[in-house]
C-alpha cells in the first residue's frame, strides 16, 4: 500500500535541545494512524516539520510523495490541520474562522460545516476571545472536518473536549475512515487510540520506539497468569518468555510474553492445571513500559 507520509531518520534541534532524534513514521493511505508519546516526545515538532512550518535538520520526509518544505503550498491543499494549541483571533467569530481556514486551504463543504456545528454544539457567533479551550478546539476541528482534504493532521485534538464531545469526535473520525480519508492523530489518551487507530507509532525522546497494528503491539505485551497446579511446577522458570515467577507450593504466579503463551500453557497442562486466572494484556502496560525512561524499550 502506498504511503501518504513517510519519514526516515528525521532530526530537528532547537539550539541544544534535540527535539527529534532519528524519527521514523509511516502512514498508509486510508488508515487512522495514532501518534503516541509522552509530553515533550516531539509529536508536535514532527507534525510541524511535516507541515513545512519547521525546517528539518536531517533525515528524509515525504508527504504525498512531495517535499513538505519545498512544496508546502500545493501539498497543503490536500490536507487539513488542527494544531495542539488552538489560538483564535480575538475579534473574529468562530464561524468566521471556520470559513476563513476552510477557504484558505481550498474550499469547504458548507452543508457538512453546518452539520458539524450542530453535532459539536458550537455557537459560531461568539468572538474568538470568549471561547473556552474546548470550544476553540471545536472551531479548528470543524474547519478541518468540513474540508474535503485527503489527509487530516490532528495534534491532540481532544485534550480540551468533554466526554460527550469526545464521543462525537470519535464517530466523526470513524466517518472519515469510511470516506477513505487518512488521519494522523497525535494523542495521549490510550482509550482513544484503541478505539480509533488502525496502526500506531509510539515515540519517546524524538525517536520511534514501536510501530505497528494494535494486534501486533498487544503481541509484544505480557499476560499475567495465576495458576494452581496438580504437581510441582518444575522447569517453568526456564521456559522462554516467562518473567517474575513466584512459586508457593503448587501455586504459581508469573508473566509471560504473548508470543510464548501457547508453549507455556502446554507446559502447565502437562503438570495438570486445577485453576487458572489470566489478565489480558493492555496497551496501558506497553505504554508505561515505554513512557518510563529507566526501563527503556523492550
Amino acid at each position: 500500500m502506498e504511503n501518504v507520509i513517510s519519514v526516515n531518520g528525521l532530526v530537528k534541534s532547537f539550539g541544544r535541545t534535540r527535539a527529534l532524534d532519528g524519527l521514523d513514521l509511516e502512514v498508509r493511505r486510508g488508515e487512522v494512524h495514532g501518534f503516541l508519546g509522552p509530553n515533550g516526545a516531539g509529536k508536535s515538532t514532527a507534525i510541524r516539520v511535516l507541515l513545512g512550518l519547521l525546517k528539518a535538520d536531517g533525515g528524509t520526509t515525504t508527504l504525498f510523495g512531495g517535499d513538505p518544505w519545498r512544496d508546502a503550498v500545493s501539498l497543503h491543499r490536500r490536507l487539513a490541520y488542527v494544531p495542539g494549541d488552538v489560538t483564535l483571533w480575538p475579534n473574529l467569530t468562530g464561524g468566521e474562522v471556520i470559513d476563513l481556514l476552510g477557504r484558505l486551504r481550498g474550499g469547504l463543504d458548507t452543508k457538512r460545516r453546518d452539520e458539524l456545528v450542530e453535532r459539536f454544539e458550537l455557537d459560531p457567533r461568539k468572538k474568538g476571545r470568549t471561547y473556552s479551550k474546548g470550544n476553540r478546539q471545536k472551531v479548528a476541528l470543524i474547519a478541518a472536518l468540513a474540508s474535503d482534504a485527503e489527509l487530516l493532521v490532528l495534534d491532540e485534538p481532544t485534550s480540551g473536549l468533554d466526554p460527550l464531545m469526545e464521543s462525537v469526535f470519535q464517530s466523526c473520525i470513524n466517518d472519515e475512515r469510511g470516506a477513505g480519508r487518512t488521519v494522523l492523530l497525535s494523542s495521549h489518551i490510550l482509550a482513544e487510540a484503541e478505539a480509533l487507530c488502525d496502526r500506531v507509532s509510539i515515540i519517546r525522546a524524538g525517536r520511534t520506539v514501536e510501530s505497528g497494528t494494535l494486534a501486533q503491539l498487544r503481541h509484544l505485551t505480557r499476560t499475567s497468569i495465576h495458576a494452581e497446579l496438580a504437581g510441582e511446577p518444575n522447569g517453568i522458570g526456564a521456559l522462554p518468555g516467562v518473567h517474575d515467577l513466584v512459586v508457593e507450593g503448587e501455586r504459581v504466579r508469573f508473566q509471560v510474553d504473548n508470543a510464548e503463551l501457547d508453549t507455556v500453557l502446554r507446559a502447565l497442562s502437562t503438570v495438570g492445571v486445577r485453576g487458572l486466572t489470566s489478565q489480558p494484556p493492555t496497551l496501558e502496560e506497553l505504554f508505561l513500559r515505554h513512557y518510563q525512561k529507566e526501563e527503556g524499550p523492550a
Binding site: K55, Y81, W89, T93, G95, L101, L104, R125, T130
Partner: protein, 529 residues
C-alpha cells in the same frame, strides 16, 4: 493581596532588560538637555534672550509655556516631549502586566496557585511606582547636577514622577474595562494624545491659565511650574487623583470575572463575508481599526497644526525682532513654511511609528501561533506576510497624504492662501515617506533574520526620534545625526527638493525588505516551545 510580592518579583524578572533601559535612558535626558543648554549659553542673559525668541504661540503650543527664562525653565520646556514618552511607557508597562498577562492565560495559571485576586494589579502598580521613581529621581538629579537649582530640579523630578504614575494609574483602570490588551493600549494612548491636544489648544491661545490646559492631565502637571514659583499643591492634587484611580481599578478588578472586561463583547456573524476569505482580507480585518485610528489622528492634527501655523505667523508679524531671528534660521523660507516643515517632520516620525506597529503585527500573529493555521493552509509565506506589510508600507504613506491634505486645508483656509496651499503641503508631507519606509524595512529585516528581536523596531524608531529632536541640542556631530533617515530629507515646504536622498532611501528600503522576506522564507516559524 497575598502573592503581590511574588508577582512583583516575577514581573521584575520579565522586565529586567526593558524596564532599566527605558527608565534610565529617558530619565537621563532632561539632565543631558540641561547640560547642553548650560554649555551653549553660559551667560544667563544670552539664555534669557534665547528664551524670549522661543516664546511664540506655535512653539508654546508644541512644548508648553516657558515658565522661567533660566536654565531649569528652558530644560523643563524643551524636554517636555520626554514627559509624554515616559507617561506612555509607564501606561504600557502596567497594561503589559495586567491585561496582557490575563489575555495570554498566564494569570489563569497563577490564579490557581496561592495568589490573591488583587495581587496582579498590585504588582503592576508597584512596577509603575518603581519606574516612576527611577525616571523622576534621575530627572531631578540630572538637572540639579547640571546646575539648574535644587528646588526646581525637585519639582521637575516630581513632575516626571507624577506623569508616569498618573498614566500608570489611568492604564490600570483602562485595563479593567477592556477585554484586550491592544484596546487597552489604544485607549491609554488616546487619553495621552487627547490631553496633549487639549493642552496645545489651551496654550496656543497665549493665555497661560486657559481652562483647557488646566483640565488636560499633561497641562495640569506642567502647571507645577518647576523653576518658576513652584505650585506644590498641584502635585498634591495629582497624588490624590492617582490614589483615587488606583482605588477605582481595585474596585473594578474585584467585581469583574477573570478574563472578562466590563465592556462586554457582542455576538458577531456566524458566517464570514467574502471579503475576509484571503490572507489580505484577514490582514485588513486585523489592521483596519488601527489604520482608521491613525488616519483620524492625522486629519485632526493636520487641521489643528494648519490653523496654529497661521496664528504663529500673525504673532511673529507683531514682533519684527523675532521675525529677523527666524528669518535667519530658515535661510529664506517663510515662517509659515518653517513651522509646517517642523510639524510634518513630527508627523513623519508618527507615520514611521504607524508602520513599525503594522509590521510588528506580523510578528505578534506568529508568536501567538495564529500564523500557523494560515501557513498550514495553502498560503505561502510571502503572501501571508505581504498582507501585513502592505499596511506597514502603504498605511503610513496614506496617512502622510491625509496629514498633508488636512494641514494644507487648515492652513490654506486660515491664512487665505486657499487651495494652493493644499498641493504644496501635501507634496511636502509625501517627502517623509522614503524615511518611513526605510524605518519599516529595518523591522522587516529583523523579522526575517532575527525574529526574536523584531520589537527592537521601536528602539530604532525612538533612536531616530531622539536624534531628530535632541541631536542638535546635544551638539552631536553630523555623522551621528546622519544615522537617522529623517535627517536626509529635504526641508519642505520652503526648501529645495533634492531627489537623490529620496531615491537612495527607497532603494535601501527595498533591499532591506527583500533580504527580510528571503530570511523569513528560509527560517522556522515560531512554535512557542
Amino acid at each position: 493581596m497575598t502573592g503581590t510580592w511574588h508577582l512583583f518579583r516575577l514581573a521584575l524578572r520579565r522586565d529586567r532588560i526593558v524596564l532599566p533601559l527605558w527608565t534610565i535612558l529617558l530619565g537621563l535626558f532632561p539632565g543631558l538637555v540641561a547640560s547642553s543648554f548650560a554649555s551653549l549659553y553660559p551667560d544667563p542673559a544670552e539664555l534669557a534672550k534665547f528664551a524670549a525668541s522661543m516664546s511664540n504661540p506655535s512653539l508654546t503650543a508644541v512644548y508648553g509655556p516657558i515658565w522661567a527664562p533660566n536654565l531649569g525653565g528652558m530644560t523643563a520646556w524643551r524636554s517636555s516631549i520626554i514627559l509624554l514618552i515616559v507617561a506612555l511607557a509607564t501606561a504600557f508597562t502596567v497594561i503589559r502586566h495586567t491585561r496582557a498577562e490575563e489575555e495570554q492565560g498566564r494569570r489563569e495559571l497563577l490564579g490557581s496557585t496561592v495568589v490573591g485576586r488583587q495581587a496582579g494589579l498590585a504588582a503592576a502598580l508597584l512596577i509603575a511606582l518603581l519606574a516612576s521613581t527611577i525616571v523622576g529621581g534621575l530627572t531631578a538629579l540630572g538637572t540639579a547636577a547640571a546646575g539648574a537649582g535644587g528646588t526646581g530640579s525637585v519639582a521637575l523630578g516630581l513632575q516626571y514622577f507624577l506623569a508616569c504614575l498618573l498614566f500608570g494609574a489611568i492604564a490600570a483602570v483602562v485595563a479593567q474595562l477592556t477585554q484586550g490588551a491592544r484596546t487597552a493600549r489604544w485607549i491609554s494612548g488616546a487619553v495621552l494624545i487627547g490631553s496633549f491636544l487639549l493642552r496645545m489648544l489651551g496654550d496656543a491661545g497665549g493665555d497661560l491659565n486657559s481652562p483647557l490646559s488646566w483640565i488636560s492631565p499633561i497641562g495640569f502637571l506642567q502647571r507645577i511650574r518647576p523653576f518658576a514659583a513652584e505650585r506644590w499643591w498641584v502635585a498634591g492634587v495629582v497624588v490624590l487623583v492617582v490614589a483615587l484611580l488606583a482605588a477605582v481599578a481595585y474596585r473594578l478588578n474585584a467585581v469583574r470575572d477573570l478574563d472578562a472586561g466590563l465592556i462586554a463583547s457582542r455576538p458577531g456573524p456566524a458566517r464570514a463575508s467574502r471579503a475576509l476569505l484571503s490572507p489580505l482580507g484577514l490582514a485588513w480585518r486585523l489592521q483596519r481599526s488601527t489604520l482608521f485610528g491613525w488616519l483620524i489622528g492625522y486629519a485632526v492634527l493636520g487641521v489643528f497644526l494648519g490653523s496654529a501655523t497661521d496664528a504663529a505667523v500673525d504673532a511673529v508679524k507683531d514682533s519684527p525682532d523675532l521675525g529677523d531671528v527666524i528669518g535667519r534660521l530658515g535661510g529664506g523660507a517663510s515662517i509659515a513654511d518653517m513651522v509646517i516643515a517642523a510639524g510634518l517632520a513630527i508627523m513623519g516620525i508618527g507615520a514611521a511609528g504607524q508602520g513599525v506597529q503594522a509590521a510588528l503585527r506580523a510578528r505578534s500573529e506568529e508568536s501567538a501561533l495564529r500564523a500557523e493555521p494560515v501557513l498550514a493552509a495553502a498560503v505561502g509565506r510571502t503572501r501571508w506576510v505581504g498582507g501585513h506589510l502592505l499596511f506597514a508600507f502603504f498605511g503610513p504613506a496614506l496617512g502622510l497624504l491625509v496629514a498633508g491634505l488636512f494641514l494644507g486645508i487648515g492652513y490654506g483656509s486660515a491664512s487665505g492662501e486657499g487651495g494652493g496651499a493644499i498641493g504644496r503641503v501635501t507634496g511636502a508631507a509625501a517627502v517623509q515617506v522614503p524615511a518611513v519606509w526605510f524605518t519599516v524595512a529595518i523591522v522587516v529585516l529583523l523579522f526575517g533574520l532575527l525574529p526574536r528581536l523584531t520589537s527592537l523596531g521601536w528602539a530604532v524608531l525612538a533612536f531616530f526620534l531622539l536624534l531628530g529632536q535632541l541631536g542638535a541640542i546635544l551638539q552631536l556631530s553630523q555623522w551621528a545625526l546622519d544615522l537617522s533617515p529623517f535627517s536626509h530629507l529635504p526641508a519642505l515646504p520652503g526648501g529645495d527638493l533634492t531627489v537623490t536622498p529620496l531615491v537612495w532611501l527607497v532603494a535601501l528600503a527595498a533591499a532591506l525588505t527583500a533580504a527580510g522576506l528571503a530570511g523569513f522564507r528560509r527560517r522556522d516559524l515560531a512554535s512557542g516551545g
